[in-house]
């Protein structure tokens, strides 16, 4: 299965105009400064926002086509989508959360063992740590048997040590997954560590030179300078 997307959307400070495609069993990392349109791209893939024009095709399924007025709702795209926080439903405990849209409820137990949160099944989300919540959110997404997994800065709200641990586990796990993963981050270390492919997005456009500029520490603009600070900080760990 290949995802091919090309779309345009007018945002407040710039126009998003991007096209990319990538194939199955791959982890594509979308990287770029905060506020550069990465989350909007992910939300459009998920069907939560509508591009002004363009096309999103998954395999032989058209998810969005502005010319033919096709817009498949998020419910029908069968994706996994994990964001920084707020994935879990506060009224349910962790196992109920993970089983919320599970194809096979029995699998959820296995996922909990793999993600090492088997002992927290009956806890409510506010009673566990941020890292444990994100582990559960990934279980929730995987239990649905997604066709694509979207991870939008899933570990950004976590402390550096937890983040590094989860990042390693994810790298280890991605080999077993038979679907494409799109991972959004603004952290260069994370991108280089996880990616099979890298898609640098700056102000709504692909900018292949961005990483080099960041690494060579010659940021061209004030915006890039600000964005670069945090990734560099994380090189310490």
């Amino acid at each position: 299965m290949t995802i091919a997307a090309s779309f345009k959307k007018r945002l407040r400070y710039f126009d998003l105009d991007i096209s990319f495609s990538f194939a199955k069993k791959n982890m594509m990392v979308m990287i770029g400064p905060s506020g550069g349109g990465k989350t909007t791209i992910i939300r459009m893939l998920a069907g939560l926002e509508k591009p002004q024009e363009g096309k999103i095709v998954f395999g032989d399924e058209v998810w969005f086509d502005s010319m033919r007025r096709i817009n498949v709702p998020p419910q029908k795209r069968r994706l996994g989508y994990v964001f920084q926080d707020y994935n879990l439903f506060p009224h349910l405990n962790l196992i109920e959360n993970a089983a919320f849209a599970a194809v096979d409820k029995k699998e959820v137990d296995e996922l909990f063992e793999i993600f090492k949160i088997g002992h927290l099944k009956k806890r409510k989300p506010h009673m566990v740590s941020g890292g444990e919540r994100q582990r559960c959110a990934i279980c929730q997404a995987l239990a649905r048997h997604p066709r694509v997994l979207l991870l939008d800065e899933p570990f950004s709200a976590l402390d550096a040590i937890t983040r590094r641990g989860l990042r390693e586990e994810l790298k280890h796990l991605k080999g077993n997954m038979s679907f494409p993963i799109i991972y959004v981050t603004h952290d260069i270390t994370e991108a280089l560590y996880l990616a099979d492919e890298i898609l640098p997005v700056v102000e709504g456009k692909i900018d292949d030179q961005w990483m080099q500029r960041m690494v060579s520490r010659e940021p061209s603009s004030e915006l890039a300078l600000r964005a670069a600070r945090e990734p560099r900080l994380s090189l310490v760990y």
């Binding site: 069907g47 419910q75 996994g80 989508y81 707020y86 994935n87 439903f89 919320f100 929730q140 649905r144």
Partner: protein, 219 residues
């Protein structure tokens, strides 16, 4: 002691609450989540019964529910009867009188739910309806309960609207607040006092319940 009037009051409050919760939920949902032109005008219109004197509401309801009014005519076409001076008539009046007290707390409770939770549910495959019952309702249950209690108490206390639309027919439209008024008019302070006294524990208990719900939400 006018047990019949108390019975009509409680029956009216209960029926009003049940119907109004069902009616108000989609309205509150729309006000909390939809964006459309003229929304603030519609919202103000929905809250209008809260700001109008009960007799003004009663007056317009008489016009609407009378044999020549739109609602009265439609009702007459299907049932052959009149809405005025009937229990169903005062139920309709009581529902309209209490609409703001159902919609406002429910809308507030719905608005408090993080939008991302709903989006997460959509991505997980839940329809909007399933999301409402599986995500929105369980996460705003104390707001919904508060709305129900407010409606119940408010319709227990209705007087002017009901008197105008329903008059005072024992067992049908004579509610406790009207019974108190009539007892006092006839200088029958003992009867009035008994009915009045029976309100206090009911109202007090419900207010305690609201406080408890609010506390529960905070922790």
């Amino acid at each position: 002691m006018d047990y019949l009037a108390l019975y009509v009051t409680l029956k009216l409050a209960l029926v009003t609450t049940v119907f109004l919760m069902v009616i108000a939920a989609p309205v509150a949902y729309m006000l909390a989540y939809s964006r459309f032109a003229g929304k603030s005008f519609l919202e103000a219109l929905i809250y209008l019964p809260m700001a109008l004197p009960p007799t003004v509401i009663g007056f317009y309801l008489i016009i609407l529910m009378g044999p020549k009014g739109f609602i009265g005519k439609t009702w007459g076409m299907f049932t052959g009867g009149s809405l005025l001076f009937t229990f169903i008539g005062i139920t309709v009046a009581s529902i309209i009188y209490s609409i703001p007290f159902a919609v406002q707390p429910m809308k507030a409770a719905f608005s408090k739910i993080d939008r991302r939770l709903l989006e997460s549910a959509y991505v997980l495959g839940l329809s909007k309806k399933a999301t409402f019952f599986r995500v929105i309702v369980p996460n705003s249950i104390s707001g919904i309960a508060a709305a129900a209690i407010l409606v119940f108490l408010h319709s227990m206390g209705a007087f002017g609207v009901l008197l105008m639309v329903g008059g005072s027919i024992p067992g049908e439209t004579k509610v406790a607040s009207i019974a108190i008024y009539e007892a006092v008019e006839m200088m029958n302070y003992r009867t009035a006092g008994m009915i009045a006294l029976s309100f206090i524990p009911i109202s007090y208990a419900f207010l305690l319940l609201i406080n408890k719900l609010n506390d529960g939400e905070r922790t």
